[in-house]
């Protein structure tokens, strides 16, 4: 074990003495995650809010006086024109309204993301809807019919999710997703430097002449990659937590509106936290061993990176489908599917829905895959045509 730790120590010291590497792997995520997670949402909410409060001109044709008044009440300035549709298409007005034969047609550019046209069209539709409801109410009143006749009953949807599930929201998906990304990117830094980097720098041959079994060297390098991967994961999650705290402190109202999509806040008990750490550790062990094997196989730093980039995509792609885990029943065999099983378990641990069998199958299979990957790394190490092929 001494030689394993010795190798790990050397790899980590090498990495930690590279300031640029430390900055990009451990510090940058802390700074970037708040911006990445909360920046666009908060910015969008603010822009939409300002656009909604602004008084915009809208092109109108044939619109009755009562509707014009309703539009003005909704902070809009109706401008009579011949052809509202053409003018909106030309971009001279964010929205236009034409009234003919009892139909209000609202024109706006509705595709291409969130636009000013979408916001203004929303304002127009709300104003006309209010006018419609007012007129219906007046008509019913004239006939002596109570307004309640329009709503003979109410429909209420009740969320049966636990408080913990409600709290985690989309973060239950995003946290494992980002954790996997950070584990991969953090582990890669050490894995490449410790393998292809050693070959390229000419230091590997000296290490291979040390009186140590190859398994110790491979395990030492993998554990260093695991340590960096976990540190990178912690850095990324710290960035996320900092971003959340910052958003709650400086933009609580906006976070309440826009941040709802991101879920509220994650609350986990001690057991779940331990489970999350074990899951992250085993995932890092698996990915570390795979990356060390690939890195050893590569002739150079560049070649190693060209192997690891597709690996990252391969690992991340299945995670994207986890967004739909609530729509379809997740079969139990997914607990044996590498990476996906860890993400599913993490999601369940965040929500407090993890079962012991799910956890055991996930941890057991991930450990097995990690050991197989480690043996693969040793086999690569033992192949002289691979070790000396640069």
């Amino acid at each position: 074990m001494d030689s394993v730790l010795r190798v790990s120590w050397k790899e980590l010291v090498q990495v930690f003495r590279d300031r640029k590497l430390v900055f990009s792997t451990l510090i940058l995520p802390v700074l970037l995650m708040p911006v990445l997670m909360f920046g666009p949402t908060l910015l969008l909410e603010r822009v939409v809010q300002k656009t909604a409060e602004k008084r915009q001109e809208v092109a109108v044709a044939g619109v009755p006086e009562e509707a014009l008044k309703a539009l003005e009440e909704a902070h809009l300035v109706p401008v009579p024109v011949q052809d509202p549709e053409a003018l909106v298409r030309e971009g001279r007005y964010p929205a236009g309204i034409a009234y003919q034969d009892g139909v209000y047609r609202v024109y706006a550019r509705l595709s291409g993301g969130i636009t000013e046209g979408q916001v203004v069209a929303g304002k127009v539709q709300n104003a006309l809807q209010s006018l419609k409801e007012r007129k219906v109410a007046e008509a019913l009143a004239q006939r002596g019919v109570p307004l309640e006749v329009l709503s003979p009953f109410r429909v209420e949807a009740v969320d049966t999710a636990t408080e913990r599930e409600k709290a985690s929201g989309l973060l239950g998906f995003l946290l494992p997703f980002f954790l996997v990304i950070f584990i991969l990117s953090g582990g890669q830094v050490v894995a490449v430097d410790a393998t292809a980097g050693e070959k390229e720098k000419g230091t590997l041959e000296a290490l291979l002449t040390a009186p140590v079994p190859l398994f110790h060297l491979a395990l030492g390098k993998t554990l260093a990659a695991v340590a960096m991967a976990l540190l990178s994961g912690v850095a990324g999650l710290s960035g996320l937590a900092l971003g959340g705290a910052w958003a709650r402190r400086f933009a609580p109202d906006l976070l309440a509106q826009g941040g709802a999509a991101l879920g509220g806040q994650v609350v986990v008990d001690g057991g779940s936290l331990l489970g999350l750490f074990l899951s992250a550790f085993l995932l890092a062990l698996l990915m570390g061993a795979v990356m060390v094997a690939l890195g050893l196989y590569a002739r150079s730093f560049k070649e190693a990176q060209s192997y690891l980039a597709p690996l990252q995509l391969l690992a991340i792609l299945p995670l994207l489908f986890l967004q739909f885990r609530g729509l379809v029943e997740v079969p139990s065999w997914t607990s044996l599917l590498p990476i996906v099983n860890v993400a599913l378990l993490m999601d369940a641990l965040f929500k407090g829905t993890a079962t012991p069998s799910m956890a055991l199958f996930t941890w057991g299979s991930t450990l097995l895959y990690a050991l197989l990957a480690l043996l693969g790394a040793v086999r690569v190490f033992a192949r002289e045509e691979v070790v000396f092929r640069n």
Partner: protein, 239 residues
């Protein structure tokens, strides 16, 4: 101390070394001479347990390199021209890192460090990071790493490649000094003048075969005072 009998190494279809036999005794520098591609590096890699022989045997200190690689590694040190050490560590850290693999820790490490630092005049550079050292100093750290555990066998493969005149001189002086401690040194090079200076015996390697072996004096006589002439004459006669 080194005993090679009928050694053959084949890479897929290419025979790198064929039926090679020689031995290096304690207190002797054996120069393995030949042009690039002659099989020198492969031979040293087999002895260093880095590649496995296809046929034949190679023993270091009486131990078979194929059967007992870990024990063999304890008995040897390897230095080659392209070998580097970790540039973000200090010289001391590099040596401490490798010393641990040989069980040299604490007081034992300090004693080994004092010896190697004195032997190679390293004292002033030990606490510098390798990246801040001159090429010659880096090569000294590479050598120090290889002999820190005082191996009775030292393998040097084109060890002066890329060194300036002072570093090269220091290395040749070191080879003689380490030989004088009673150690066996296999010195592989294509630079005949280096062999003329340090070797006790020479072997000419051509296309993986040992075509000539003699004491340095005999080889010099064959080449009328020049190992290079002796080498060329031998190869022409063999062809």
């Amino acid at each position: 101390m080194i005993e090679v009998v009928g050694l053959t190494k084949v890479y897929r279809t290419q025979k790198a070394v064929q039926d090679l036999s020689f031995q290096v005794n304690p207190g002797e520098v054996y120069a393995l001479l030949g042009p690039n591609g002659a099989g020198k590096t492969t031979t040293l890699r087999v002895l260093a347990t880095l590649v496995r022989p296809t046929a034949g045997t190679a023993r270091v200190g009486g131990l078979d390199v194929g059967r007992e690689p870990i024990r063999v590694r304890r008995k040897l040190g390897l230095v080659n021209g392209g070998m580097r050490v970790y540039d973000r560590l200090t010289g001391r850290e590099v040596l401490e890192f490798f010393a641990g693999f040989y069980g040299l820790k604490g007081k034992a490490f300090q004693e080994a460090l004092d010896w190697v630092a004195g032997f190679l005049s390293l004292e002033e550079t030990l606490d510098k990071r390798v990246m801040e050292m001159s090429t010659g100093m880096r090569q000294k750290i590479v050598i120090a790493r290889a002999i820190l555990h005082r191996p009775p066998v030292l393998l040097l493969d084109e060890a002066t490649a890329g060194l300036d005149i002072f570093a090269r001189r220091a290395l040749l002086d070191f080879v003689k000094a380490y030989r004088d401690l009673g150690n066996a040194i296999l010195y592989s090079t294509h630079v005949m003048s280096e062999a003329e200076e340090v070797a006790d015996r020479v072997g000419f390697l051509h296309r993986g075969r040992l075509v000539y072996e003699a004491s340095k004096e005999e080889a010099l006589a064959l080449g009328e005072g020049s190992l290079e002439r002796a080498f060329v004459r031998t190869i022409r006669e063999a062809a």
